[in-house]
């Protein structure tokens, strides 16, 4: 793994282009390095993609072939997909997940934005109160959410919302607040206030300043917030496994956790179901790849 991909005369360290444009022609040893690096890179990438390909292969395999000769490509069939589509409430699963994600992510972004605006822009009588409230919200970053599972289960029961969408939506909002606040206050602190002041001079009130001046300028960081939280809610399992007991309200993750019981030894059907869940995710990822990667690594990587 110690190979570097840079040829000796090629010094630009900031080349981000995917095609590897090179200004100067690499010398022969550089070329050999580059070739070795290329082979290694493609090999490793293939290994990483292999599990997905394996699942796709199994999903096309009749169930008896999976046990006898899984590598065979002679009797591939879409029969498993027919079974899976017939036995799986795919639309219902996605509807549940999308409802929960849409409400919790939008509400989470909205309340976090309001708080972040107050914490960075509005003038408090006591400044200490302002920074300690920000710290209060950010402290949530240090808490693993598993600690909250049982208390929130009891809280949902006490509030009478256990087993409903709200049982999930409220904790998802709460859990998103610390990270949202980190990103949004971070952005606002570096963002100049001139525009807002000008708007206020023109007679704009608090709502107009937020809605027509600040929010439009925050589009990139809001996109990051949305992507990060949508991925979180779509993939979340611990909360949903405890707070939702009605199969009709199951999200995608919860439904997947039941595949092994549902399909028992119908491996082909299980793999087809897994592929049906995986495929839309991968397609969306392929389209928004840059934004998704930026969103998920935000906080660790500046920008």
């Amino acid at each position: 793994m110690s190979l570097t991909t840079r040829s000796p005369r090629d010094g630009a360290a900031r080349d981000v282009s995917t095609t590897g444009r090179r200004g100067t022609r690499p010398t022969t040893p550089g070329r050999r390095h580059l070739l070795a690096a290329g082979v290694a890179a493609y090999l490793v990438t293939f290994l990483i993609v292999l599990p997905i390909l394996w699942i796709a292969l199994l999903s096309l395999q009749p169930s008896d072939t999976i046990l006898s000769d899984p590598f065979s490509v002679k009797s591939l069939t879409f029969g498993n997909y027919r079974d899976a589509i017939a036995s799986l409430p795919l639309l219902q699963m996605y509807k549940n997940t999308i409802i929960v994600a849409a409400i919790s992510v939008t509400a989470g972004a909205l309340v976090s934005f309001m708080a972040s605006f107050a914490l960075t822009r509005m003038v408090f009588r006591r400044r200490a109160a302002q920074s300690s409230l920000r710290f209060y919200l950010l402290a949530g970053l240090a808490v693993p959410v598993y600690v909250l599972l049982f208390p929130i289960y009891r809280l949902d029961l006490a509030l009478g919302i256990f087993g409903t969408y709200a049982a999930l939506i409220l904790p998802y909002i709460a859990v998103s607040i610390p990270f949202n606040t980190l990103l949004l206050t971070g952005f606002l602190r570096e963002f100049p206030t001139e525009l807002e002041e000008a708007a206020i001079m023109d007679g704009a009130g608090l709502f107009r300043v937020c809605w027509s001046v600040v929010l439009p300028a925050m589009r990139p960081v809001l996109a990051t917030v949305f992507i990060f939280n949508v991925v979180y809610v779509f993939n979340e399992f611990p909360f949903v496994s405890i707070l939702i007991n009605n199969p009709d309200l199951a999200t995608v993750s919860l439904a997947v956790s039941r595949f092994q019981g549902q399909y028992t030894v119908n491996y082909g059907g299980m793999m087809a179901a897994a592929t049906l869940v995986l495929l839309p995710q991968l397609v969306i990822y392929a389209v928004f790849q840059r934004h998704v990667i930026a969103g998920l690594t935000a906080g660790a990587v500046k920008g």
Partner: protein, 288 residues
């Protein structure tokens, strides 16, 4: 901005976040801590028992097994992931199609952990899994990658590495992009070999990135749950349990709420310490 800062406007803007965060985050943490000092269970009234739950954790072999497994996963993952993802970031820079390869390598990070677990059942399962299928013609196996007595934590590490390597690689890659190019050029003119450049220039300059990736990985290891849930369900007899999966079992399957919350408090402390280390580092690098 004093013009828009009347008292009630500030309150209005802060209230929704503060109320939701307090009710569904801060209060639950307090609730968990309080319950860890009771003998609360699925039945009967809860009674205050002081540190009893923590004392009995000390004598609980399954708890220590779960701590050991978590540490094994942590060690294996760090030892393999740090160099592997850094090496991959170096590799995936200027070859043809590097951008597409980086996207593919990152791919597993967006798959739901529960689905990752299911996928890997079909790689690691002793009977139908890909690995044993490939080893069979070589006369090896069948090996109990999961569900056996010893290998499961290593198998979980492998799956964790698979799902995190793209994430770690991306952070390293971003760090590499920020290295000043004039230094690299100067070192090249001095005739340093590729390995020397990486070893004596790149790695020392990336020390903080290494620390950040390491701490992020540590925090993520403490959150491994779905993988164990899908691969082995913690078994056989809790041998492959991690801290989080054991807490889940004690709390929700066994309904020993008091003991479960004592484990949750242990997780809370561990998670808190690593996160604070991360925040301190990030702050120094001016991220937070």
């Amino acid at each position: 901005m004093i013009w828009i800062s009347s008292r009630w406007k500030i309150a209005l803007m802060l209230a929704p976040a503060l109320i939701l965060f307090t009710a569904f985050f801060v209060y639950p943490v307090g609730y968990a801590i309080a319950y860890s000092f009771t003998n609360s269970a699925g039945f009967g009234a809860a009674r205050f028992v002081g540190f009893d739950n923590y004392v009995s954790l000390k004598g609980d072999p399954f708890f220590w097994q779960s701590v050991r497994n978590t540490l094994v996963i942590l060690a294996v993952s760090l030892i393999i992931l740090l160099p592997a993802s850094f090496g991959l970031a170096l590799l995936l820079r200027r070859i043809k199609g590097a951008g597409a390869l980086r996207a593919l390598v990152f791919g597993p990070a967006i798959i739901a952990p529960i689905l990752v677990g299911l996928i890997w059942v079909f790689i690691l399962d002793p009977r139908v899994g890909l690995v044993n299928r490939l080893l069979e013609p070589l006369g090896v196996g069948p090996i109990q990658w999961i569900g056996g007595n010893t290998l499961t934590p290593y198998a979980v590490s492998l799956v964790f590495i698979w799902s995190s390597i793209g994430f770690a690689m991306t952070i390293f890659y971003a760090g590499l992009q920020l290295l000043p190019s004039d230094i690299m050029e100067a070192v090249q003119l001095d005739g340093a070999t590729a390995w020397q450049r990486v070893r004596h220039v790149t790695i020392p300059m990336m020390r903080e990135t290494f620390a950040i990736v390491a701490i992020l990985l540590i925090t993520n290891v403490f959150k491994i749950f779905e993988l164990v849930y899908m691969l082995t369900g913690g078994g056989p007899v809790h041998r492959s349990e991690t801290l989080v999966s054991y807490m889940y079992f004690v709390t929700f399957t066994n309904q020993r709420y008091g003991s479960g919350m004592a484990i949750a408090v242990v997780i809370f402390v561990l998670g808190g310490v690593t996160s604070l280390a991360y925040l301190a580092l990030a702050r120094r690098r001016n991220i937070a």
